[in-house]
C-alpha cells in the first residue's frame, strides 16, 4: 500500500502542475482497479441475480463463471460496429466517450484508503456531483445521434429524470457536508467516528434513491426500460461502443457504491481488517443492495418517477437539510447518540406522514 501513501496530504496552490508522474501512475492504477472491479461487479450481479431467481447464473466460463465478463467482453468486441444510416455519425461516435469519461473521472476523488486518492480536492463531493452531471450529455447524444424513436424517448426520459434527481441528490449530500464540515472526501471519512448513515438516515435513503435514479437502476431504469423502449438510448449501439455503455453503467454503479460508502458508511474505516479491504466490502455491500432491489421490484412510470422526485424526495431532502442544520448548530457533539435516535424517529414520522399526503399513480395521466 506504499503507493497510496506517497502522495502528500496537502496540495500546493498550483495543484495541476508538478505531479505529472504521480498522476500518470495513479491514473493507471485507478483504471486497472475500476476495470477489475467492473468485471467483479458484472460477475457478482449476474451470479447474485441468478440466485435470487432460483437459477445458477453464469458458471461455465472459468471457475464459478468468473471469466464470464471476459467472455462477454470478447464477444461484444468482435461484433460488427453498426452506425445508423441516417444517424448523426459524429454524435453517435462521441456519445459513449462523453458518457464514459465523467463516470471514470469520479474515481479521482474517491478515497480508497487514508489519503489514497488521485487528488484530495477540497471541493471533493461537489466535484463528484458536477462531474456526474456531465454523463447525461453522453446519454442524450447517444439518443439523438442514433436517429431512432425509441432511443430518443429514452434520451428525453434520461434528461428529465437526471435533472430532477440531481436536486435531491445534492441536497441530501449537504446534510453530510454540514456534519463533516468539509467538502473533501477524505475529511468526510475522517469525520465519521460513527458512520453517517446513523446520523443521517433520511439523507441516506434520499441519496440512495436519487443515486439509483441517476445511474438508471431499477426501479428508475426508465431510459433503457427493456419492456417499453427496448434498450432506450443505446438501442442502436453495438460492438465496442455498446461495451462502452455497458462499462459506463457498471462504472457508475461502482462510483455510486463508492460514494455511498464514503459518505454514509464510514469509507475505509473499520476495525481489524485493512482499510482497503473494508472499503471493498462496503462497496460490494452497497452494490448487493442495489441489485437486490433490482431483482425484486418493478419499474415506475415516467410521470411517477418525476412526481417522486419533486413531490417526495425534494421536500424530504429540504426537511432533512433544515433538521440537520438545526442539529449541527444547536446540539453539542456529545449528544451523538441522542441525535441518532432523534433522526430515526424523524424518519419514521416522515414516512408515516408522507404515506398520508403523498400519492401518485392510480389516476389518469393528465395529457
Amino acid at each position: 500500500m506504499a503507493i497510496f501513501n506517497y502522495y502528500p496530504q496537502t496540495l500546493s496552490p498550483d495543484w495541476p502542475g508538478g505531479y505529472w508522474l504521480h498522476w500518470g501512475v495513479f491514473v493507471v492504477i485507478i483504471l486497472v482497479f475500476v476495470m477489475a472491479m467492473i468485471m467483479g461487479f458484472i460477475w457478482f450481479e449476474r451470479r447474485g441475480l441468478g440466485r435470487f431467481q432460483v437459477r445458477l447464473g453464469p458458471n461455465r466460463a472459468g471457475p464459478f463463471g468468473l471469466l464470464q465478463p471476459v467472455a462477454d467482453a470478447i464477444k461484444v468486441l468482435i461484433k460488427e460496429d453498426i452506425i445508423p444510416a441516417k444517424g448523426d455519425k459524429l454524435v453517435h461516435w462521441l456519445a459513449p466517450v462523453v458518457a464514459f469519461v465523467p463516470a471514470l473521472m469520479i474515481f479521482a476523488v474517491v478515497p480508497f484508503h487514508d489519503g489514497a486518492l488521485l487528488a484530495d480536492l477540497n471541493i471533493g463531493i461537489l466535484y463528484v456531483v458536477a462531474v456526474s452531471s456531465v454523463g447525461v450529455v453522453g446519454i442524450f447524444m447517444a439518443g439523438w445521434g442514433s436517429n431512432n424513436k425509441y432511443s430518443l424517448i429514452g434520451a428525453m426520459r434520461a434528461v428529465a429524470q437526471m435533472v430532477s434527481y440531481e436536486i435531491p441528490l445534492a441536497l441530501s449530500i449537504i446534510g453530510v457536508v454540514l456534519i463533516a464540515g468539509s467538502l473533501s472526501m477524505n475529511s468526510i471519512v475522517e469525520a465519521q467516528s460513527i458512520p453517517f448513515i446513523l446520523l443521517q438516515p433520511l439523507g441516506f435513503i434520499i441519496y440512495f434513491l436519487a443515486a439509483c435514479a441517476e445511474i438508471n437502476r431499477t426501479p428508475f431504469d426508465l431510459l433503457e426500460a427493456e419492456s417499453e423502449i427496448v434498450a432506450g438510448f443505446h438501442i442502436e449501439y453495438s460492438g465496442m461502443k455498446f461495451a462502452m455503455f455497458y462499462l459506463v453503467e457498471y462504472c457508475e454503479v461502482l462510483a455510486i457504491s463508492a460514494i455511498i460508502t464514503t459518505l454514509f458508511l464510514g469509507g475505509w474505516r473499520g476495525p481489524l481488517l485493512p482499510p482497503f479491504l473494508w472499503f471493498l466490502i462496503k462497496v460490494f455491500g452497497v452494490f448487493f443492495l442495489i441489485f437486490w432491489v433490482r431483482s425484486t421490484i418493478p419499474r415506475l412510470r415516467i410521470d411517477q418517477v418525476m412526481a417522486f422526485a419533486w413531490k417526495c424526495l425534494l421536500p424530504l431532502a429540504l426537511i432533512n437539510l433544515v433538521i440537520t442544520g438545526i442539529e449541527v448548530i444547536a446540539l453539542p457533539p456529545a449528544l451523538l447518540w441522542t441525535v441518532m435516535f432523534l433522526n430515526l424517529a424523524i424518519v419514521v414520522l416522515l414516512a408515516l406522514l408522507w404515506s398520508k399526503f403523498f400519492r401518485l399513480g392510480g389516476g389518469r395521466v393528465e395529457v
Binding site: L11, P13, D14, W15, P16, G17, G18, W20, D88, L90, V91, L94, L121, N122, I123, L126, Y127, V129, A130, V131, S133, V134, V136, V137, F140, M141, W144, L152, M156, V159, A160, M162, V163, E166, L183
Partner: protein, 163 residues
C-alpha cells in the same frame, strides 16, 4: 508555471473554437454540444485561475443544468430540421463585432493593470463562504438571488403550463 500556461493555451483555443462552432454550425444539436464543450473549457480556465469551487459550480450549473435545458428546448421545438440560419445582418454584425473586439482589445492591452503579486487564496470554498455570508458580506444579494430564482421558477412554470 509552465503547466498552467500549457493548460491555458489549450483551453483557450478549444474554448474559442467551440464558441465559434456554436455560432457557425448549422446543426443546432451539434451547436449545443459545442456549447457544452465551451462551458467545460471555461471551467478549466477557472481552474487555472485558482477558482476551483467556481469550476465545479460552472460544470454543475452550465453543463448539468443550462445546457441540458437548452437541449430539451431544442427537442421540444423540433427546430433541428430547420438548422440554424443567419439573418440579413451578417456583414454589419461582423463589422460591429470586429470593431468592438478591436476597441476592447486596444483598451485592455493599453491599460496598466495593477497586478498584485500575492498568491491567490486556496482553497476558495471557505473563503468564498466567508465573503458571501460573513460580515460585510453579500448576504443581501444572496437573499435577492434566492428570490430571483424563485421568481424565475414560477415564471417558467406559468409560461410553460398548459391550460
Amino acid at each position: 508555471m509552465i503547466g498552467l500556461d500549457i493548460a491555458f493555451w489549450i483551453l483557450a483555443v478549444v474554448g474559442i473554437v467551440a464558441a465559434l462552432a456554436v455560432v457557425l454550425l448549422r446543426d443546432i444539436f451539434r451547436a449545443a454540444i459545442s456549447m457544452i464543450l465551451c462551458f467545460l473549457t471555461v471551467a478549466g480556465i477557472y481552474v487555472t485561475l485558482s477558482a476551483d469551487f467556481l469550476a465545479a459550480v460552472q460544470v454543475l450549473i452550465y453543463v448539468g443544468a443550462i445546457s441540458v435545458l437548452v437541449i430539451l428546448a431544442i427537442m421540444l421545438t423540433r427546430e433541428v430540421q430547420r438548422g440554424s440560419p443567419s439573418n440579413k445582418l451578417r456583414i454589419p454584425a461582423f463589422i460591429v463585432v470586429v470593431l468592438f473586439l478591436g476597441a476592447v482589445s486596444f483598451a485592455l492591452l493599453n491599460t496598466p493593470w495593477q497586478v498584485s503579486a500575492e498568491l491567490p487564496v486556496e482553497p476558495t470554498t471557505a473563503a468564498l463562504a466567508t465573503r458571501l455570508f460573513g460580515e460585510n458580506g453579500y448576504i443581501l444579494p444572496v437573499e435577492i438571488a434566492a428570490v430571483l430564482l424563485l421568481a424565475a421558477i414560477l415564471g417558467a412554470i406559468v409560461l410553460v403550463r398548459e391550460k
